[in-house]
Symmetry: C2
Subunit: 218 residues, 2 copies
């Protein structure tokens, strides 16, 4: 059965790898599963055919035979559960790795997304200049705690896991803000994630979509 | 082995059941597992003993023998995986129920939390009056999509699952806003969740903590 995921036809991040299909591509590469990608236009995201796959009209989705899933966290977990490479075998270590997946998505990412929203969606609002430092402070609160927990370890709990895949992906959103610079161990952690061959392949694959969508140079 | 969870000594919601220990209590009641509760003061949340259990200094945590977990989503999933009652047995239905857990926490809850932040943490800011309608619109976007998907069904995908437990818990945060009133099927869905005996027991247990913490009436 061929796995098919969806991705933006024109990713708003211009190939920086921040669209969520990169997380799923990375997981697929870590577990060594081939996949196909169906590109979706912004208009098609809100049309019935796509909404049947993803009720919130987003990417990525995942199809494998008659199973279709949405939500990056759920897709990565599904892959991690069925293939070796993203979750430890030992039950307690496995539960802790899953904990880090949820922590990345539900505790660390929300203030980071709030920062993105303020910078992009509310960039023209009169209050944004005064609000930004407040939101950055909320992000720093999380980063300080995460940095303290990681300490000098390579990964959050023993070997690399789906929890690290998700946390690194979430932290990558901060690159352009410079906020990670205050936490050398977190910056090194992110770099360690990016250096993984599976991440490199995933990044290259999403960048190729963006590059192909650009008009040829003169 | 006794399961021990943590909860606020003084819940900021004054027993409305919105603190996240209610979600874990609900899951424990659905699967019929007894548990003990250790109450934690706001000060103790940020002290080393608690940070060792929960790196972000929050509640709830979960301890069972030498396994300790944090993150509500991870705790509920751990319970759902080990005990009957919260996840279907059939593999595809199980993967879809897990998808709804992630959707509740990562797609539906973030704009709802943004609304709470604006109303509470930024209530004294000059921009909040103008910002609130924008944030409410983001919440409505999600509610419209969720309402369309739920349609006339009782639960999101077949029988009640951990996905519904999490989605109902997230939507309960909107009660005081009145935003759910525009979606009769979502309001009925939330009421259906609250009517479950397991929810009733969980709600009563967290309310008892709040009631006991109040000074006696004259």
């Amino acid at each position: 059965m061929t796995i098919t995921i969806t991705a933006f036809e024109h990713s708003p991040d211009r190939g920086q790898g921040l669209a969520r299909d990169t997380r799923v591509r990375w997981a697929l590469e870590e577990v060594g599963q081939p996949y196909e990608v169906r590109l979706v236009s912004f208009r098609a995201l809100k049309e019935p055919a796509h909404l049947a796959l993803h009720p919130f009209g987003q990417i990525p989705t995942y199809e494998d035979g008659d199973l279709s899933l949405f939500e990056t966290g759920a897709i990565v977990f599904h892959l991690a559960e069925r293939h070796a490479g993203l979750l430890p075998d030992e039950a307690k270590a496995r539960a802790r790795a899953i904990t880090w997946m949820f922590a990345a998505l539900n505790t660390v990412e929300p203030p980071i997304l709030e920062l993105t929203t303020a910078r992009i969606l509310e960039s023209d609002k009169p209050w944004t200049r005064e609000r930004l430092p407040m939101i950055e402070e909320r992000v720093h609160d999380r980063l300080k705690q995460l940095s303290a927990r990681l300490g000098g370890a390579d990964w959050l709990d023993g070997a690399f896991s789906a929890g690290d895949l998700m946390m690194v992906s979430v932290l990558l959103r901060l690159r352009s803000s410079g906020l990670l610079d205050a936490y050398p161990n977190l910056a090194a952690y992110v770099a360690r994630g990016e250096a993984r061959p599976a991440y490199q392949r995933a990044f290259a694959a999403q960048l190729a979509v963006y590059t192909a969508s650009q008009p040829p140079a003169d």
